[in-house]
């Protein structure tokens, strides 16, 4: 594989990916999201390119403020506008440019073709309506007749493994536990048989045992229906368990992407390396110091020249302060926004200072 610097926007980058079966279901090209205040616009998500192929499981990893949630909200046209809006770039879904659609066109895709599950089910469900009313309402909004909607509601509640669907559909949200509510949310998302499910930290508020059930549930449905899944999370364990492609975001841009196994075994961006080292895992000795990333992530709205990670990076050199690195191909389907290739890095021990 050539190590030459290569902008990822070109077709040459795509040629290297392992999953190229047909057209991407979802593609983001040069997406920039920002806040426009008075006449000045500051971009907080910059130049994001990513694609999701049918049936693929993509993970978007990043810390709070990395822009991962804004990125997926932009896909659904759900950015909190004002003040946050899509400033540039193109989002295509199944070959259709979402930017050319009016609100009604977008509403048709949102919910029917692309469904979303949020972190906190308690705040995404209406506390005053019974579960059944909310699911049936969703289906009716997409044109299902009442009887069919009722039947489908029962069916999907069954599908998500809820013990007593008859009781759950009559329940109000407060009568259900967090795990049950998240199942209801997933049932609601699946009711319309979407081709893409976007899950924004859907298990963060749940206990690990319940998280495990939700992960298995989504994997199950995914295997059965072949829908694609975009999983937004900060939990690298969840990523390792369920996704096959990873995008790592830092300070509003994609800093690394690649197949899950490659990315975990051979990270190509120092930030990914540090994130992996900061967690105790198999092979970490008891009480051995963990990799510390000094400093804090920069404010994506106030970035200085150069690489946004350089102040926290032990491998930074002159060029990093001058020029921001583009995504550079580092292997089959792997690209990282770092001027140095991993073999030019010093030993990872350099992190401990």
């Amino acid at each position: 594989m050539s190590q030459a610097a290569l902008e990822t926007t070109g077709p040459a980058f795509e040629a290297g990916r392992p999953v190229t079966a047909g057209e991407p279901l979802l593609a983001l090209r040069g997406v920039g999201i920002g806040v426009r205040r008075r006449r000045r616009a500051s971009e907080i998500v910059r130049g994001v390119d990513l694609e999701v192929f049918p049936g693929q499981k993509l993970g978007i990893v990043g810390e709070s403020g990395s822009g991962k949630s804004l990125t997926v909200l932009s896909v659904l046209g759900l950015l909190p506008d004002p003040p946050v809006r899509l400033l540039r770039g193109q989002i295509t879904f199944a070959g259709q440019d979402l930017g050319t659609l009016d609100d009604r066109g977008l509403a048709r895709i949102r919910g029917a073709e692309i469904a979303m599950v949020y972190q906190d089910p308690m705040t995404s469900l209406n506390p005053l309506l019974r579960v059944r009313t909310q699911i049936v309402e969703t289906l009716r909004a997409h044109g299902a007749p009442r009887d069919a909607a009722r039947a489908r509601c029962r069916e999907v509640l069954n599908q998500v493994g809820l013990q007593e669907p008859e009781r759950v559909e009559r329940a109000f949200p407060h009568e259900l536990s967090g795990g049950m509510l998240q199942r209801v949310m997933i049932a609601m998302a699946l009711a319309v048989s979407p081709r893409l499910l976007i899950a924004d930290e859907p298990t963060t508020a749940l206990d690990v045992t319940i998280q495990q059930q939700i992960l298995e549930l989504v994997e199950d449905i995914q295997a059965r229906t072949g829908m694609a899944v975009v999983w937004v999370t900060h939990d690298l364990g969840v990523v390792a368990r369920i996704v096959d492609q990873v995008v790592v975001m830092y300070a509003g841009r994609v800093v690394e992407k690649g197949p899950t196994r490659t990315l975990f075994a051979h990270p190509s961006h120092p930030y990914t390396l540090a994130l992996l080292g900061s967690l105790p895992h198999q092979g970490t000795l008891h009480r051995q110091p963990l990799t510390q990333i000094g400093g804090t992530p920069p404010d994506p709205a106030r970035l200085e020249r150069g690489c946004p990670f350089r102040s926290r990076c032990p491998f930074a050199f002159d060029r990093c302060a001058q020029e921001e690195p583009p995504l550079i191909e580092r292997g089959p389907g792997v690209a990282a926004a770092c001027w140095k290739s991993p073999d030019e890095w010093k030993s990872p021990d350099e992190w401990q200072k």
Binding site: D207, E216, R241, L279, H281, R287, Q292
Partner: protein, 336 residues
Amino acid sequence: MAEIVLRATDIEKDYPSRRGPKVRALRGVSVALAGASTLGVVGESGCGKSTLARVLVGLEQPTSGRIELMGELVGGTVGAGLARRIQLVFQDPFSSLNPRLTVSVALNEVLAVHHLVTGRPERRRRVDELLTMVALGPRFLERYPHELSGGQAQRVAIARALAVEPRVLVLDEPTSALDVSVRAEVMNLLSRLQDQLALSYVFISHDLAMVRHISDTISVMYLGKVVESGPYEAVLGAPLHPYTRALAEAVPLPDPEIEAGRRKAAAGEVLTLGAEPLYGCPYHPRCPLAEDLCRAQVPDLVELRPGHEVACHIAAREAPVGTGPAARADQKETSP
């Protein structure tokens, strides 16, 4: 084993409930913490781990049971002198620091309230020393909490806890509210402080990887009871209680190779306090191994291996006292 600095015996904590029976948050919990060591407490939400933290530091009075700190009975007539030997660090540093006080004022206040350091220059020196301990320079003195990152704020909260020279820190989810990249910083700091100051920690978390990383011994709680406790390698490496096994298997590890080969095991819905079964082992409705005995009789916490206690009828039957590593491997194979 080093001397025991903190020992809680048969702690019960009930909360009255307006309708229905009282909520029994802790039911006969006993823990012991050796000097300069860490006790990890794990369990799902609602298992009583935060209640235990509050009871240990004296924020809540236990309904019954005794707590001894450095050999002395806590509560009753014992004054602040003993109470300050145990301090609590909360999950969210921003809600535990006063937003209107600078770091310097917040730390000075603690020293003044406890009459620890008299004289302004001495106090100033002590504040500098505390900040140095948590690896923050004097430039942080005049900062307000909103001018700190999550990791820095948590370090200030730790410095404030250390100001009163405690022997024991109770850390209630100290890294859960922090971003992944700064968790390591707080964990490394805690390890270093423990070595420097011979501190003992009660480390409460649902993050099993972090608990395993820092703890010497681990107690697993379920519905207000300790169901398994012992050395960290034994409890998380070769768990004997089916609940600990379910918990350990549920945590996704940041390693796709391991994840690919993992068994799938669903663990059933969590029961909330007050919804537990009336008879038998509190875990039996979720337990894949439950038999008639489990539905009828509450298992006692029994020492099945040296220092390793388990409250499970089946584990007790299958792993008789004194079995070696061979039996341990056998035990693993028979797990669900």
